[in-house]
Symmetry: C2
Subunit: 380 residues, 2 copies
């Protein structure tokens, strides 16, 4: 298997687990957060800054890189690692989410997905085979098969059809894989229907992928629906393989999914919030551009050891953000990414200490937008 997963400890009071994801470019402690480098750059950060902030694995978007600068150019440059100067593990997604969420005039048939570029309106078609070819050109360490997403309001037939198609495309993707050094994950779809999710998970597990992603969540469904879907899906997945919940990155949802046994996460949220002036602290979120921080000479978070908090005040960062200075975005981004990794590390320690349930309660009270208590007890 091109990636391996080792479960280090299972929390005694929840379904959370601490583990280690071993890739050809190094090991990553789990649960882990992966910053998103959509276009081959985690917005505003260098690879060295990512590493200093604690990033061990990052994500890039197949859809975006296919459109700009094109996967052939990236291959010519020696692959995405070399092109963007990132030495660690790289995960690329399938583009399924982007053509669902970004690209207008999408039409789907069994062969693939027609879409128009959100950049210039040009027409394109993704097939499972092309998406594999693109990711082979990018040279990412973990790759995803093309999947079909549906919105939270889709009817049962549409959800079932998209799930079945995603399964067929998973088989075609595996058949199309040429580089055995890349770890192709299976993606579980099935909307918020626990029956469909379980069926999809079982069929993918029977195909024995090196890891499993859970897609199609965080697309507008209520928190309870996400929790119930994860509670139904995760137990179907083998304990010896990594579990990756796609597109989730707010602290409260991370708590929820880790409590239900998920290992890997990605989201643009920490970097996007930072660009708009919102930073995470161990006391909750702050909107630094608020007038109340005008003369606040404290660091963003006195308990944070990141570059930003070691040298700059809230007042300085606020000044930069108000004046649209790039350094303001940089400092807020560095802090938020560092915070996410600290938060994941703290969750991992709570798991190792068999204290995840109390960790969950404590930090849900700080970051909670949902109020789901002890989701691992079932009956959701």
């Amino acid at each position: 298997m091109p990636v391996k997963f080792r479960q280090v400890h299972a929390d005694a009071g929840s379904r959370a687990r601490a583990g280690e994801l071993i890739t050809r470019r190094g090991a990553v402690a789990t649960p882990c957060f992966m910053p998103v480098g959509t276009l081959g750059t985690v917005r505003a950060m260098t690879p060295e800054e990512l590493q200093a902030a604690g990033s061990r694995i990052i994500l890039a978007n197949t859809y975006h890189l296919y459109l700009r600068p094109g996967h052939r150019l990236v291959a010519k440059a020696g692959g995405l690692h070399r092109f963007m100067n990132w030495p660690g593990p790289l995960l690329t997604d399938s583009g399924g989410f982007q053509v669902f969420s970004l690209a207008p005039l999408m039409s789907v048939d069994d062969d693939g997905i027609d879409f128009r570029s959100h950049v210039d309106g040009s027409a394109h078609r993704f097939t499972p085979e092309l998406v594999m070819e693109i990711q082979e050109a990018l040279g990412s360490d973990i790759i995803m098969p093309l999947d079909q997403l549906v919105g939270p309001d889709a009817g049962p037939d549409v959800v079932a059809e998209a799930m079945e198609r995603t399964l067929r495309w998973a088989r075609r993707s595996r058949a199309a894989q040429r580089d055995p050094g890349q770890a192709l994950f299976g993606i579980v779809q099935g909307g918020v229907d626990p029956v469909l999710r379980r069926q999809c998970a079982r069929e993918l597990v029977a195909m024995d992928f090196p890891g499993y992603a859970i897609g199609g969540l965080s697309v507008g469904e209520p928190a309870e629906a996400m929790a119930a879907t994860l509670a139904a899906t995760v137990p179907e997945l083998p304990p010896g393989k990594p579990r990756y919940l796609m597109g989730v990155g707010s602290p409260d949802y991370l708590l929820l999914a880790v409590g239900l046994g998920v290992d890997m996460f990605d989201s643009v949220l920490p970097t996007r919030l930072a660009r708009h002036g919102t930073v995470y602290t161990w006391s909750g979120k702050l909107v630094l551009t608020h007038a109340r921080y005008r003369e606040d000479l404290n660091p963003v978070d006195a308990d944070c050891g990141c570059y930003t908090c070691s040298s700059y005040s809230r007042a300085y960062i606020r000044h930069l953000l108000k004046a649209n200075e790039i350094l303001g975005i940089r400092l807020a981004t560095i802090h938020n990414v560092h915070f996410m990794h600290d938060f994941m590390a703290a969750m991992r320690q709570a798991i190792l200490d068999n204290e995840f349930a109390s960790f969950y309660r404590r930090w849900l009270s700080v970051f909670g937008s949902h109020g789901i208590m002890e989701p691992w007890r079932g009956g959701l």
Copy 2:
């Protein structure tokens, strides 16, 4: 004197000189280029990146910091060095240029200058005393007295009146100075009239400032007029004091002014050009966003040792710039600032080797927008 200048060597074939500017925050080899951190940040760079690129002294704008975030806040934060985390020498300008170039509805009388903020249109008044108070609050190491600029089309009476006023304001600024640790330079004005420039320089020299700035150039006058003005002004200035040409930063004008005996320079040009995709190389300027660099996997400049050139290709930086990614701006900015310092260091070495005249010819042919040969021979 709060700063000292030591002339290390005078070139045998021009008026260029190599020296050392000694400040309370360290020594700076001259001729030197000062990146501009208008709002307390050299756009897109951290202090550590500036130092790695070779920056030893940087500039900030009194006018901008007075408006945002306000000098009182900066003082409360412990001064500009601490606020922006820059440990080296800092020079602040007087705001005279900004109220001349940026602020609408300006009116000038002997007491001061009325202007409206370019940010929100609010009304303000700069007097020599207020400008000293602002710079004292900022805590910069080298400070400038309020001066009055005039455009290249101003009539002789207007130019003379502004020069006389600038002299009176220099006296008032000195009288208003409260922190003897700050080095207050005199600013020579007088348009492009060599008689007025000589007169202004002599009167300032009689006042014995620790350094002399030459202001009011690079405001639209022909290159020949700038050269003639410098040729008339610089010989009036004492060899034991630093000479600073304000607002000049293109390689060809740096060659011209260094050849005429100037030691210090500042300009937004290298950082502004970088943000728009133009980079300096030892073969001339490149516009990285051009299609011809789409698949160019070479570094920006194979002879450059900067962070950007050590790890990234033109194709990658072009991709980032085309997609409006902040890292593209960062990488281009780091390179241009590094290049400027390398260019100044190469000029300094040519001076030490008594080869400035041939250095001048060679690099004017690469960077020349003017064709002024051997300006130090007089007869301009």
